[in-house]
Subunit: 335 residues, 2 copies
Amino acid sequence: MAKRQGETAIILENDVRIVSFAAVVGPKEAEGPLSRYFDKKESDEMLGEKSFEKAESKFQQKAVDEAFKKGGFKRQDMDVIFAGDLLNQCIGSSYGLRDFDIPFVGLYGACSTMVLSLVSAALSIEGGWAKRAVAVTSSHFCSSERQFRFPLEYGGQRPPTAQWTVTGAGAAVVQEKVGKIKVKAAAIGKIVDFGITDMGNMGAAMAPAAWDTISAFLKSTNTQPSDYDLILTGDLGFTGSELLVQIAKKDNVDLSNHNDCGMMIFDREGQDVHSGGSGCGCCGSVLCSYVLQQMEQGNLKNILVCATGALMSTTSTQQGESIPSIAHLVHLSVE
Amino acid sequence: MAKRQGETAIILENDVRIVSFAAVVGPKEAEGPLSRYFDKKESDEMLGEKSFEKAESKFQQKAVDEAFKKGGFKRQDMDVIFAGDLLNQCIGSSYGLRDFDIPFVGLYGACSTMVLSLVSAALSIEGGWAKRAVAVTSSHFCSSERQFRFPLEYGGQRPPTAQWTVTGAGAAVVQEKVGKIKVKAAAIGKIVDFGITDMGNMGAAMAPAAWDTISAFLKSTNTQPSDYDLILTGDLGFTGSELLVQIAKKDNVDLSNHNDCGMMIFDREGQDVHSGGSGCGCCGSVLCSYVLQQMEQGNLKNILVCATGALMSTTSTQQGESIPSIAHLVHLSVE
């Protein structure tokens, strides 16, 4: 059984571990600095499908298939799958996973979904009602652009604070006692809204949510950033990450061991991505490749991963609403 | 700690109970046969807001406020809130709940959300990481019509199999040992897709999912429908409910003690709702009023509630996709 520590931290006591994980990405991600860490690099971002949405579903399906293959698992070895994505009604997940025949919990956490699904999966094991659980999420540049911004054909100009939605998916399988990486603790974030209304600056909207969750977790566990090898956020990008470090500094906390999946996945100068990567698939593909691989190899031993999500829709934005954000956190370690 | 029984059933062993619940509905629902059971009946379906979506958020907020009031709770008494709705990016929940300052898990289960959130909340208590948790969901006729179907002003004609989205919200608070109604068991559904493509006949798309989950649960627990006072589905409506009973019959199972929130909330003849009510708020408002009240009064002692959801979007439908569906189940009892 899990227990609470302080106001925020959820401590797992049952030796829940990440036993297998995989990331599948599109061609632009495959040209980025993390290229050699991805399990599958697709040269066709449509994956032979006729629509962006169907392609995204297939990325999610492939990430799960790959995680199963790497772990030697079959579909029937899984008790539950936690999944979500950015598309309206989360169709990336429901269509991508409908053939798996695994009990399915749909989540909506926007770009925080990789951590929300991983935490949910870990807690299902900890809670005794699943022996093995999957966490998966995806995003696709094309399906996101046309849903949230402009038709791709329009070729709208992007502000410098804009981020580039990652085409890709990440999946992780958790169970007790097998695997090197332990899920030690977690925190479920609160909705934070500082009144940001600029859809072209998600990093600024999400940074306060990241700090809200990270600072609450540090306080609850009585730890400091320097107790961890890395404090990784999901997709604040360059603008949002700078803000996060500044906000922490105001609270007299040094976040110099912070990095962000959105800053890691693309080459800022060479790939014309402005403020970096974003989307559920950003944290999904970076965590479930480079980061967890570094942990398995012992190069990272003790990390916090805090993925942020912006919870608006085009409708709420058109109605003049600000962007409520959220950040969920997981503490991973190897011994 | 929860445990599995058979392939599907999740058995809760920690005496998790529904301590407080509330339902808030709009004017049409207030004119229906369950009128006197609702906690709040709003005469203005806009609740003074300028958009349908903002109104829906407010319904959700009011349902939670009312459940807190009835239980004598404050926001800070809650460790986590599980919520979702039908709107793109679940803005009914994120805007409706952003001021609560409670750790927030966003779910997407379409119209299955009341049961998915209730099961998630119960498992968070059972799992030891929350002392008190909230489950809430909502729907709104106007926001659903314009998002999924036609502009309201268009006045499109509805086929006889079409259902009427409920304007309303239901909320329940769970914790250990307090309250009359116990959450005894649960089942997380699998995605089921029988190839139905008719957006005007959701009941037919969802009925196979309901039977998939109900039959799996009965088999896992070695029980029969007659062991329960009521087998309640969420919003299959008249068409879908008839189908469910037929499908069960083919498997030689008699579902004569079945009822459906979508059949209960409106007067079929007098309120021009064709195949009955639908939407997350349908199961939300009927369960969190009439049904749970009947349990508290001892008129119902042992029930299964199985809420179904159709996981398509307008995009997937326009792309010719069929409607994947899901059904989650909870077993409630009073002693």
